[in-house]
Symmetry: none
Subunit: 526 residues, 2 copies
């Protein structure tokens, strides 16, 4: 089976999405997930372009242990009227200390003349010099031929010369880019076939989605001979986004029978897509191909009837191949086995046919219908299962609180929370100020609990995310709060859902503390 190399640029091109801004920690987390999926290359950012990207490569060197993927630094060719040896762009690329570097250069003479304002010849030198310089420093170099398809359309001779310059410099792979996303599939196929016959190094493809064809264009390019495909998770990217790897991958694997990612990875694809959407703080599209919530949902009566006879009648692949599930919108029949599997992961054993397993399944489904989501918030899911299995010891009861936020003229805003807990037989009533209402609540809770559970000192809240579920309802809509907590050993996410953001936070806070107690007591450190 022919191997296709997967090159992910979620962290660089994906971060160009309107409304997406990854922190360094987000980027580390996404890298780990991509590595688990056995993606071949992870483009981490443009060292030197901004402090955040520098910080990422520095953190990555210290903290990121990649088992499958290679980290890649991205940048451009050297500046005009400069020399490769002294060029700041190239120097910064070396400082990232990655084994692979991708640089882009101009393949469209329009850009050479109007943007760079250099001669066509100098542009060729910039490409060749830059690749050779990096290669000389022991790097493997990928060359992104920016605007290749537009350039090839207007001046094919020159566009090819830019590729030849990169080959002369020593590029490992030449990536043909449809930077403006305007190319039609048939053109992509023809041009790739043409170039493959003329250029002696392996080719890659990098598409944008401005014509809503980036996925098909990438697949066509592979059929025409490309061996590397670049894209982003969930298709994030500037304007209309980049080619969506989550759509491309199963098509390569299950339709074209090509070798990419591990078999294991495909079963994790739905979960990974949602995980990365949560980190990006963007809702996963229900209709997203393969992994969306509606991707295998059947509504029409005639379809459901046929499905009951043979699932192939209305499904192009089996949903479990990509870790998704079938949903009949009249009745929910699926999901039990995955709940059982999850329980086993946490060391809980259920007989799949028992009433208990069924009850838990129904409870999970009920909560999911209310807007809960457990892909990221596994700590809340464990608690829920332990509670259902009567394996959960109640540490405290917390059912009263009041939060007040007040602003008077120019004075700073004041947030105050009171909480009333029952701990064992004692009633504990505390009050605290905080930097905001959730922080005040957290502080009041700690004040109440710390005497009984000093381990709370070792735990702090490290992330807090809010998503409105029913967008159309605006501020009256349901809200999902995700809270990440951390102690000296690990970190965990919990979730709360309510129409009231304070109550949703309260639920997630309660879970985060209960989980901490539970894991400390069981000695289960992970």
């Amino acid at each position: 089976m022919k191997k296709i190399y997967i090159y992910d640029t979620t962290l660089r091109d994906g971060a160009q999405s309107e409304g997406i801004s990854f922190t360094v920690k987000d980027k580390i987390r996404i890298s780990q997930k991509l590595d688990e999926l056995s993606v071949d290359f992870i483009e981490g950012g443009w060292p030197g372009a901004n402090p955040k990207d520098n910080e990422f490569f520095s953190q990555a060197r210290k903290a990121l242990k990649l088992k499958n993927a290679k980290l890649v630094a991205f940048g451009s060719t050297r500046r005009a009227a400069s020399s490769a040896n002294k060029d700041a762009i190239l120097q910064n690329l070396l400082k990232a200390e990655t084994g692979y570097i991708t640089i882009f250069g101009k393949s469209w003479d329009l850009h050479v003349k109007e943007v760079f304002k250099v001669s066509p010849k100098e542009n060729l030198e910039m490409i060749e010099d830059s690749v050779r310089f990096l290669k000389k420093h022991g790097k493997k170099v990928f060359f992104d031929a920016e605007h290749f398809f537009d350039g090839y359309n207007e001046n094919p001779r020159y566009a090819l010369e830019t590729l030849e310059a990169a080959v002369s410099g020593g590029a490992e792979v030449i990536i043909l880019c449809d930077t403006n996303g305007g190319a039609v599939t048939s053109t992509i196929f023809e041009v790739v076939e043409d170039v493959a016959a003329k250029i002696g190094v392996p080719l890659g493809i990098h598409c944008h989605n401005d014509s809503d064809m980036a996925v098909a264009n990438s697949v066509a390019a592979i059929e025409a001979g490309c061996v590397q495909v670049q894209g982003t998770f969930n298709g994030y990217g500037e304007r209309c986004g980049n080619a969506n790897l989550v759509s491309i991958l199963p098509t390569l694997k299950f339709k074209l029978r090509l070798n990419c990612l591990s078999q294991f990875a495909f079963k994790e694809l739905t979960e990974a897509s949602r995980y990365i959407a949560d980190i990006a703080n963007v809702k996963q599209q229900d209709s997203q191909a393969y992994v969306g919530k509606s991707a295998f949902s059947h509504k029409a009566g005639v379809h459901i009837n046929a499905m009951l006879k043979n699932a192939r009648t209305y499904e192009h692949i089996a949903p479990e191949e990509v870790g998704n599930k079938r949903r009949m919108l009249i009745s929910e029949l699926s999901g039990k086995s995955s709940v059982i599997m999850k329980a086993e992961e946490f060391g809980l054993k259920f007989d799949g046919k028992s009433d208990k397993a069924k009850e838990i399944l129904e409870h999970v489904q009920d909560l999911e219908n209310k807007g809960y989501q457990f892909e990221l918030a596994e700590a809340s899911l464990i608690l829920l299962m332990k509670k259902a299995a009567k394996l959960f010891k109640k540490y405290f009861e917390m059912d009263e609180f009041r939060v007040m936020v007040e602003k008077r003229h120019a004075a700073p805003v004041v947030s105050e929370a009171t909480v009333k807990l029952k701990i064992g037989k004692e009633n504990v009533h505390t009050v605290s100020l905080g930097d905001g209402p959730v922080h005040a609540m957290d502080q009041a809770l700690r004040k109440a609990l710390i005497k009984y559970y000093p381990a709370l000192n070792k735990m702090h809240l490290s992330d807090f995310r809010v998503r409105v579920l029913d967008e159309k309802a605006g501020t009256a809509g349901k809200v999902r709060v995700l809270i990440q907590s951390q102690d000296e050993i690990d970190s965990w996410w919990t979730v709360g859902v309510s129409e009231n953001i304070i109550e949703a936070s309260w639920i997630a806070l309660r879970d985060s503390i209960e989980y901490k107690f539970m894991k400390d007591e069981s000695g289960n450190k992970k």
Copy 2:
């Protein structure tokens, strides 16, 4: 120029979308809009399948005056072991009184055997009989060959026989359907070419988006010889949706130079896409190809610099061709030139070298350092610029509020907000409950302002997003709140940043109302 016929099935296949349910009035409104755009065929529904579809055709006969489009009734071939003359399905189709009727039949022998459970021969008779019957009653008949590509893959001989049966019966156009949405573009192209050489009537294409390739597949089918393309507005449809006409149309027109819709229609495409999204009560995707809010938005500094030299460098078509517009996003990645351009977009003129421009830039950068983000929240940015330019009239002062959220035992959580405003010379002090603290605050504000600004009745909050900026600080970290507001004309985002989520919401709420007042007063309706 070759003419391509546009067949819209938003009202029928689009209504299969999870979460979409059109009223009869919605369907009338959408039909009128499609007709204005000069779509050729509008599939109205399946008469007899449900009362709503019957009611639609009845209303359409009375109220719908179509200038360009033909209304089409949709249904299936007759039932097995029935005769066309007596078949209820076909009778109901006639009752819709449309000039055109589309019926679907089975082209995949798997369906014939396992779903219909009839002999292959009887299925062919069902197709031929049904088409002939409708034709005899003066109808023009389109035949949807359901699952054609799957059928052709497994039993090409039989799949072709089903088409021949429809041709014998007198079908005007044969539509090849990728019902499960699993076909790859190269297969679609080859099969259409093959069939076109063998079947003597015009062909159409009907694709679903399960592999994220429905648009490219439809375009490829047209390149291979189809003359009718079926799809839905915004790609609505079951599972992952149908082929998106909004993406297909500009590609046919501007890339393949084919004749479809009027020139006028393309200028209206962005507005039409949003209009239909509003009726469907689904948010238009910002990243939607051609018509999305981000489709021509530029964020990266290098892109913006190039765009200022020549727009073709990063745009595949001119946004105004499809009624969309270019946006330069202000973000950490951009500089002074984009701030000045942005100001000009809003009708503010600054000399690029003036102190005022420099001051605004510094102010924007300062706020960005504090966590503000203006790429989405353009309304807040306009307010900021107008205030800096001393062109902003203060409508009211709002500097006191108190929000309280309280939970007592099992009782539902209560949220109450009080606000104190100065409106002109009056002090107004109001209180309201709400579904959560921000909703309560919104309600109290409205209570205070509505007497002075009744236009507030026309405005509502339509989205609400929260992001914690400094993760390490957890619940004590800074919070960014984005609020989307909407009136009957347009929608806008505002932003607030604070360590306190309530205060951040308060700032974004204030901006949203100030922007509404400002735009109403200036008569700036877009």
